[in-house]
């Protein structure tokens, strides 16, 4: 059993603030973390490894410092890692990202069998939730999205999909791509000895550039992107606020009057 897990390094959006003067993001001092859904995807893969024995390889596309999420994943229990890093990959939209990840998976497939690719449902910086299905299409494999639990059966997988209205149970043949938003248990902690191994000279982490995965410049990064960012701005409200003063009784009466004048009650 061979599993590839897609992990992304993202800024911790809880800490991101806008500069009120310039309207730009203040990223200074904002920590980079492993995308939360990807951590759950990794835990899902490691649970399958515990139960059936599997080789788990993590793949991340990003700048050189994205290697940190790969070493962290290996310290948690992954067996190998691939960092996809190249100047040409910068500025990629989801089409170009899924193309690049897809080419890397093809290269892995040329080396070894792959039974399952696990991605997070969405990354907290973009929140697109598009990469999983797009990678599945690149590979021509079926996809199962919104998964919270996964079991392997003879040549297929049984998955529980957590949807707003309830939980759907499906069976899907392998190989397949799965996107996860939850796992049956909290992600495990990184282990120090594994971290030292992943950072040390015997580390099995590989770094691939555009040439390694045979990805032409016209299909990657900003140039390969089919969507472009025109502008960014801070969300604004155009409401004029009526500040209602007085005692609680006065405030309540004023409000009820105002609302009934507007036929809202």
């Amino acid at each position: 059993m061979n599993i590839a897990v897609l992990v992304k390094q993202v800024p911790d959006t809880n800490e991101i603030k806008l500069d009120p003067k310039t309207g730009t993001l203040i990223r200074e001092g904002v920590e980079s973390i492993m995308n939360p859904d990807d951590r759950l995807g990794l835990e899902t893969a490691l649970m399958l490894k515990d139960a059936h024995g599997a080789k788990v390889t993590v793949i991340s596309m990003g700048p050189p410092q994205a290697i940190d999420v790969i070493t962290e994943a290996m310290a948690m229990g992954a067996d190998g890692g691939v960092l996809l890093s190249d100047r040409n990959f910068a500025g990629a939209d989801t089409w170009a990202t899924s193309y690049t990840l897809g080419k890397a998976l093809e290269k892995l497939l040329a080396e070894t069998r792959l039974d399952l690719v696990i991605a997070g449902r969405q990354a907290i910086d973009g929140d697109t939730a598009q990469i999983g299905p797009q990678v599945a299409e690149h590979l021509g494999w079926p996809q199962v999205t919104y998964v919270s639990e996964l079991k392997l059966e003879d040549g297929s997988l049984r998955a529980w999909r957590k949807l707003p209205g309830g939980v759907e149970e499906v069976v899907c043949p392998l190989p397949a791509v799965v996107t996860v938003l939850d796992a049956p248990q909290d992600p495990r902690w990184a282990m120090v000895d594994r971290l030292l191994w992943a950072c040390g000279p015997k580390s099995p982490i590989r770094v691939w550039d555009a040439a390694d995965i045979e990805a032409p410049a016209k299909s990657t990064g900003l140039r390969g992107s089919l969507t472009q960012v025109m502008q960014t701005f801070s969300p604004k409200s155009e409401r004029k606020t009526d500040w209602i003063e007085g005692t609680a009784e006065e405030q309540a009466r004023h409000l009820v009057n105002a609302l009934s004048q507007r036929n809202l009650i």
């Binding site: 959006t13 500069d19 309207g23 730009t24 993001l25 203040i26 990223r27 910068a90 500025g91 989801t94 089409w95 899924s98 907290i124 910086d125 929140d127 939730a129 598009q130 299905p133 299409e137 690149h138 996809q143 999205t145 919104y146 049984r158 707003p164 209205g165 309830g166 939980v167 759907e168 149970e169 499906v170 016209k218 900003l222 140039r223 089919l226 969507t227 472009q228 960012v229 025109m230 502008q231 960014t232 701005f233 969300p235 409200s237 409401r239 606020t241 009526d242 500040w243 209602i244 609680a248 009784e249 405030q251 309540a252 009466r253 409000l255 009820v256 105002a258 609302l259 809202l264 009650i265």
Partner: protein, 395 residues
């Protein structure tokens, strides 16, 4: 690859710094400067009005796209009925189609859905593309992808909109990758660029801290998923007629390999707060289940639905189906009353479509007041009982 400044053209206006999603552009001594945080995403290039930015980022050419016409809305259904988001998309799609001078068309994929064509016509559809087949009765990613891909290739629309529902966000990326189309997820605002006719797709990013406007210059159709509850549904016009165009359904066995084994509905179902006209919502400031009891009384007096923040859900004061916000439901009631809610960005994201917002909070600096029409700085446990009394008095 790099971005640089042409100093004699730069006025130091700061548009590029505003446009940069990474804070990599700074203005110093009335000149822009690119710092090492630049990821070469190119957002600044489009923003500069003075030709003061240059790059060696190569642009792919834009082909002739004039053959692509029509605004298509994927009309998602459940148990043979249109989902509310499908109606919202018909409203928005109609507006876009009018701006482009093109037809609004609806797409129906399923089994036994033909009766919905009249309803879609009443919502503005000039044409309804119909793929009707018993094998499409239940949603299957690969089967729906193939049918839609065939339709798009046969009819070449300019725009395709889908709801950002679990189904839409499973199907749209798959389809966009099959046909090599651009796709923007979870949009909250759409428009048309007057000069180019491009669809302008605005969506929140970085957890709602930033809005980004995205466009798809060189491929058609331009695809976007749209967040449910954000757009207004149109007035239905009874008696309107649409041309129904049937699509031959060709599927492979491999399109139907996924097997649905069971479905366990959530225990606490039965409300859909996204459709409520009036909402009374509470947060941590309501302190307890009893505090929410007081809100429930207010809700009942006003004929409103009860809802709340993620904190209120985590504390067990309300059910998860009543959570409003980024990870909950987006609502657009006539009246939204926020009680003891701070108004974190993730919560505000879900209420901006409300017509009127009332906020009651004892902290005058709470961010919720920045989106309030009526602001009451005060204690929930005093103001809400006073409102109940005033409402009973007014009755």
């Amino acid at each position: 690859m790099a971005v640089w400044i042409i100093e004699e053209n730069c006025t130091g206006c700061g548009l590029c710094a505003k446009a940069c999603p990474y804070g990599a552009m700074v203005i110093e001594d009335k000149l822009a400067r690119v710092t090492d945080r630049c990821t070469e995403c190119g957002a600044c290039l489009a923003a500069c009005k003075f030709e003061a930015l240059a790059s060696d980022i190569e642009q792919e050419p834009i082909p002739d796209l004039s053959g692509y016409k029509g605004v298509w809305v994927f009309a998602e259904t459940q148990e043979g009925k249109l989902l509310p988001v499908s109606r919202e998309l018909m409203g928005e799609g109609g507006r876009l189609a009018a701006e482009l001078g093109q037809d609004l068309c609806a797409v129906l994929v399923g089994s036994g859905l033909e009766p919905l064509a009249d309803e879609l016509a009443s919502l503005g559809a000039k044409k309804v593309f119909l793929a009707d087949d018993p094998r499409l009765a239940a949603y299957a990613t690969l089967a729906f992808t193939r049918v839609l891909a065939d339709m798009i290739q046969a009819h070449a629309p300019a725009v395709l909109l889908m709801g950002a529902t679990p189904l839409g966000r499973d199907l749209a990326p798959r389809l966009s990758r099959r046909l090599d189309l651009g796709l923007t997820a979870d949009c909250t605002q759409l428009g048309i660029d007057k000069e180019t006719g491009n669809l302008l797709q605005t969506r929140p990013a970085f957890g709602g801290n930033v809005m980004a406007t995205i466009y798809t210059p060189r491929v058609r159709p331009q695809m976007a998923t749209v967040r449910p509850g954000v757009m207004a549904p149109p007035q239905a016009r009874a008696g309107a007629q649409a041309e129904v165009i049937k699509q031959e359904v060709k599927l492979l066995d491999s399109d139907l390999l996924l097997k649905l084994m069971s479905f366990t509905p959530l225990a606490s179902q039965g409300v859909d707060i996204s459709q409520a006209k009036t909402i009374v919502a509470g947060g941590r400031g309501c302190r307890s289940r009893e505090g929410f009891g007081l809100l429930a009384e207010l809700a009942q007096e006003m004929g409103a639905e009860l809802a709340g923040t993620r904190v209120a859900v985590e504390e067990g004061w309300i059910g998860v189906e009543r959570q409003i916000g980024q990870t909950g439901v987006t609502v657009r009631p006539e009246l939204y009353i926020a009680c003891g809610i701070s108004g974190a960005i993730q919560h505000r994201a879900g209420i901006l479509g409300s017509r009127f917002i009332v906020a009651i909070n004892r902290d005058a600096n709470a961010p919720v007041f920045s989106v309030a029409d009526y602001a009451i700085v005060g204690d929930v446990f005093k103001v809400v009982p006073a409102m109940l009394a005033a409402l009973k008095e007014a009755r």
